[in-house]
Subunit: 283 residues, 2 copies
């Protein structure tokens, strides 16, 4: 393990929840990620599920609150949860708002001058991080899935739809489904990609699903009906569902009565999401 | 609900995780507690399990990290998790250390002048809080159990052993088992109870188990072998086990390889503890 440094390790559900840091070539800064290694990895390589977190999160939110390790242990899955953006890049204004800059990388490769050197989270999570994981951990090569929450749900959908065949399955909790047309997405895309809205469509799941080819994806989305961001039309899951109908991909959108946008909601349905990924990865 | 104020409510595992505040008569300050109400409470009254947290904790640690709600939902149990001490009492030095004063009430009734007005956590958790819960929530009367972690494991054991028949079952994660003879306990007992060590024994599980009568208790204790506080002899579970042998009570002490003192450890074995309490409460 030449290129990763162990920050912490804690025994959990028979395996190990660890946090590592490494110097990212794509992001040109130090990055942390959480990794859960089920006990099955002591004897054999295991599939990997990538988790992308939402606005303001670090790798810690998922590690401490999602309750995923129990199910990962049961199914023999590694779960990798990276931080949500570059940190400490000394870009003017990087820490000014919760929904842009630090903690809000949006899983895209920025093209605007100010951000394009560091804000390359799309390539980080789809290329650099998987290579690092396969090199340093007992991960089965080319056998992975991806899921996430809110901004990270958007990221998971975009990563899967832009890379046909790379991810066996994809799921999301309260994802931002049509960022070109919601306040969070429009702010982030304007800042990172500029004002030409045509450039935004390559990071918008509702746009991408119309033309994404490759193996059909079995996409599970859980959305709380009492989620204030849903009510504010930041998430727009119906748009993705509608766009998916003529596509090769199948979206199962479950609207969950009374649930909000929190990790309490995520923890409640985590078992179903891990089971979906296990079904596709353990075959 | 005249005497409790809802601070938050979040849907989780089909039920509701809520936090309430109330003005405590025993502690003469405002106190928060978390309460998980499984969906079963919509139709009928349910048993209650009280959780006592460890040093530095508020009601939030258990609510966000223990992963207990899933099992409480499955077994139809209410879980109540109070804060660990009075707060904001303007007692000189109350916030000076992590292991005494705020966040460190030790679940005893203080007798030293400086603390005795507010620091009455023993009576709070065994008398005032249960009455409040039974009055305000769909709780089955006189059908409860208790468990906790570290300082709260000590608290749970002491509450059960001092009140024969009150709690159907008791369990603990890495409890302080012999506070009269460990640094944490000696500091707290000296401060709250004074220097007469004979007075300390009434809040020491290893002392209490020798003479506690009433129905035999089936006590489950999980202890991580990689717990630094175990290594520092703050916890001393072997003392309790040894003292239990001639008693009417049965201690099952499970030493868990590689596990530490954290909520990751607690979450791992939470299912077993809730199942034990459910077995005694749902009969």
């Amino acid at each position: 393990m030449a290129c990763v440094t162990e920050v912490s390790k804690t025994k959990m559900f028979g395996g190990w929840q660890k946090v590592f840091s490494h110097q990212s070539k794509e992001l040109k800064c130090s990055m942390n990620f959480g990794i859960y290694l089920p006990s099955k990895t002591e004897a054999s390589k295991c599939p990997v599920v990538y988790w992308l977190s939402g606005l303001t999160c670090t790798e810690q939110n998922f590690v401490t609150k999602a309750g995923a390790q129990k199910y990962a242990a049961e199914h023999g899955l590694i779960i990798v949860a990276p931080d949500t953006s570059p940190r400490g890049c000394n870009i003017e204004g990087e820490d000014d708002s919760y929904d842009f800059g630090s903690g809000a990388g949006f899983y895209i490769d920025a093209t605007e001058d100010k951000w394009k050197k560091n804000y390359r989270m799309y390539t980080y999570v789809t290329v650099e991080l998987p290579a690092l994981i396969e090199e340093n951990f007992p991960a089965q090569p080319d056998n992975c899935s991806i899921f996430g929450h809110s901004m990270g749900g958007h990221g998971a959908l975009v990563c899967a739809l832009k890379n046909p065949g790379k991810y066996r399955s994809v799921s999301a909790f309260s994802p931002i489904c049509n960022p070109c047309d919601c306040p969070w997405g429009r702010k982030a895309f304007t800042g990172y990609l500029g004002s030409n809205e045509a450039d935004w469509k390559k990071y918008d799941a509702t746009e991408l699903i119309k033309s994404s080819d490759g193996p059909p994806l079995d996409i599970l989305i859980d959305q709380g009906k009492a989620d204030n961001f849903y009510e504010q039309k930041q998430l727009l899951p119906e748009r993705l569902l509608e766009a998916s109908v003529p596509s090769r991909h199948q979206v199962a959108l479950r609207m969950q009565e009374d649930y909000d946008h929190s990790y309490f909601f995520i923890a409640t349905f985590m078992e179903d999401h891990i089971a979906l990924h296990a079904k596709h990865l353990n075959t």
